[in-house]
Subunit: 206 residues, 2 copies
């Protein structure tokens, strides 16, 4: 019991602690609000201690994004097991973006897209996207890396675009639910020339 009163020179689990602090910053102010120094400050450690666990700031962000892609993939996988996988995954996609805007933005940030060397990150991203593609119409019979079906691209673009438009404040957040229903209802249904929406009542209210 003599080790718990002094501030402990060695933190013991700095890396996860830094990731947690950075995650908080990400949630509070988006990717730009994540700083090495601020994260270190919150953990109560000197700024340069971070370099023992992350090559640079970008590596810290990559670690965050890795968690993000895993959570994202899990959410999509869960939705895939729903009775209506297509709309469930679409909803999960948008919900994730709205619930974790900072993370969502980070995951698709150009900073990370350039990180083609980070295998774990790429793997997690691929896994999530593969789940998405599977649930969205790209049959599992298609060999990996093959041409993605047009419908899958469209469905992906649809949910991704809506997520961004709402996140960026272009479309009002207050009506997010409405927009979601409009888009998801569009997937199994169809629309006429005047854009009249056919509401989809198959979704059980939760």
């Amino acid at each position: 019991m003599s080790t718990s009163n002094r501030p402990a020179y060695h933190h013991g689990a700095l890396r996860p602690a830094l990731i947690a602090a950075a995650r908080a910053l990400l949630d509070e102010g988006g990717p730009d609000a994540v700083g090495l120094r601020e994260a270190a400050r919150r953990v109560g450690v000197s700024p340069t201690a971070t370099y023992r666990h992350f090559e640079d700031k970008e590596a810290l962000l990559a670690a965050l994004a890795l968690d993000g892609f895993r959570e994202f993939g899990a959410a999509l996988a869960a939705a895939e097991r729903a009775p209506e996988p297509l709309s469930a995954m679409g909803e999960a996609y948008v919900d994730f973006a709205l619930a974790k805007p900072g993370m969502f933005r980070l995951m698709f940030s150009p900073l990370l897209s350039a990180r083609h060397d980070d295998e774990a990150l790429q793997a997690a991203a691929s896994a999530a996207f593969t789940t998405l593609a599977r649930g969205v119409g790209a049959g599992s019979d298609a060999p990996p890396g093959a041409q993605i079906p047009a419908a899958a691209i469209a469905a992906w673009s649809l949910v991704h675009g809506l997520s961004h438009l709402i996140l960026d404040g272009v479309l009002p957040r207050a009506e997010a639910e409405t927009f979601k229903q409009a888009i998801l209802g569009l997937a199994p249904g169809e629309r006429d020339a005047h854009g009249q929406r056919r509401a989809d009542m198959a979704e059980e209210p939760r």
Copy 2:
């Protein structure tokens, strides 16, 4: 002619010059690459001179985005006059994003979305979006500010999402043309439960 040999204490047209320099930075490295000091450096003026023309860095970015929204609106308006406005505007949307990625990202950056006080910026953005909404199915009979039809939201999300996915390197840039065709061809057509795409042959090849 005695005024042209000395470096001229007063630049004369600093504001547009700074905007041009910042625009170059934006095109080169995206929004994060735009810096007050670097812009001033390129124009050959002291860092703080910028504050005579822009309240802060964000104001400079807002000025850039203003130009961007005007160009964007013009491109959409031009597409609206095409024989097939819907797909032409969709294509114009994606093309703009791919041709001016930095600007596109800036225009939808959360930094600027928070600028609700900047009237010129909001006006230019609204103008562009109104053009888009008009061409995309929201009849001009709808009162401004009214409910946006679901189909319009969907079409917007579609092109916006595809733009982002390609821009962020998630979808390969090399196949951008293919993706564009897939999505634009999908707009007037429909697809069955298995995501089988019905290629739309109505589009004339250009």
